[in-house]
């Protein structure tokens, strides 16, 4: 039998067991970007993510050889048209440089949008490094992977795969209200 002195200990472990079972499957959704990253723009400049802090950032980890990423461009274009650049900035980073994508290919994609469908992709484009640093950290599950960061650079929302303008806009509106 359990002695009176051991009872609180046993009850504590039972309680601990319950709590563990309840919270074991939970993951935290909103985390901070702990490490800033750098990328190369199409002009060859090195930029850092923290250069864009102060605005809500829509970070689009994409690739040229990815059909959903091309469809995503149409949705990002709507964001570009409907939100002021004072409040929201879009960064599309080609994260498949380690698999052979180049700045020429990325520029070719932007030109193709302009020439084929008369859409100007008028936001910042950049490339990951050859080691795939950004890919490994932010887009290891696939492309496109989208993040919405608040004005301080904290990740407010993330989504792997194509995301519609409406869903993105809802999240942007939420983070704009909170900031």
């Amino acid at each position: 039998m359990i002695s009176a002195t051991k009872k609180p200990i046993v009850l504590f472990f039972v309680f601990l067991f319950f709590m563990l079972s309840i919270f074991a499957g939970c993951t935290e959704e909103k985390t901070d970007i702990r490490n800033d990253f750098s990328f190369t723009t199409l002009n060859g400049e090195t930029k850092h993510l923290n250069d864009f802090y102060g605005k809500v950032i829509v970070l689009d980890c994409m690739a040229v050889n990815c059909q959903p990423c091309m469809l995503q461009m149409f949705e990002l274009k709507k964001i570009s048209e409907n939100y002021s650049t004072i409040d929201v900035t879009i960064l599309s980073i080609d994260v498949w440089v380690s698999t052979g994508e180049t700045s020429t290919m990325l520029q070719g994609m932007i030109d193709a949008f302009k020439n084929q469908v008369n859409i100007t992709l008028d936001w910042t484009f950049g490339l990951d490094d050859l080691q795939g640093t950004i890919q490994n950290t932010y887009a290891s599950a696939g492309v496109p992977t989208l993040y919405i960061l608040d004005k301080k650079g904290n990740i407010y929302y993330s989504h792997v795969g194509y995301e519609s303008y409406v869903d993105l806009a809802n999240k942007i509106d939420e983070v704009l209200i909170k900031n």
């Binding site: 074991a24 040229v64 180049t102 290919m105 070719g108 193709a112 696939g142 795969g161 194509y162």
Partner: protein
């Protein structure tokens, strides 16, 4: 209406990707049509990819196979880059085993090194027919270890309560 829009968008995307590939590779490509066997392979199956390359013999031919899920709009990062040996006159061939159980289509690009310069084919999209047996580690919604702990916790509690009553 939505389907029509999706269809038009897909056509636009294919044309953009085609234009991008042509811009990247230049014109006058000697890389011919890419053929896939079976023509509608299943996810996780092995696919035989063949291509005809005319003109000067390339020193190296490789194929990039990318797997995507059209429902979720994801392309997976583990692109397979496989060498294509010469199978017969001007025909290069290789087998590639697909990795993702939930992929709904693959895109294939052949690159050939001709006169020390890499030339790239246009991208070929192949829809997958379905999924073969096998689990690629995805979460199928089955109970996890937390459920086991939960059941164990209830069991231990019931035993303790019973003991207390007997006492």
């Amino acid at each position: 209406m939505k389907n029509q829009r999706t269809f038009i968008l897909t056509l636009v995307v294919v044309s953009i990707l085609g234009a991008t590939a042509v811009l990247a590779a230049g014109t006058g490509l000697p890389i011919g049509t890419i053929t896939v066997s079976p023509s509608a392979p299943a996810a996780l199956s092995t696919v035989t990819i063949s291509v005809t390359i005319s003109g000067e013999a390339p020193s190296e031919v490789r194929v990039n196979v990318e797997e995507c899920n059209g429902n979720t709009g994801i392309c997976y990062p583990d692109i397979q880059n496989v060498s294509m040996p010469l199978a017969s006159s001007s025909i290069y061939r290789t087998d590639v085993t697909l990795k993702h159980s939930d992929a709904t289509y693959i895109t294939i690009t052949v690159v050939a090194k001709i006169n020390n310069a890499w030339q790239e084919s246009s991208q070929k999209k192949v829809n997958l027919s379905g999924t073969q047996d096998g689990n690629n580690g995805g979460d199928k919604g089955t109970p996890g270890f937390e459920l086991v702990i939960f059941v164990a916790a209830i069991g231990v509690s019931l035993i303790l309560i019973n003991r207390k009553r007997v006492k």
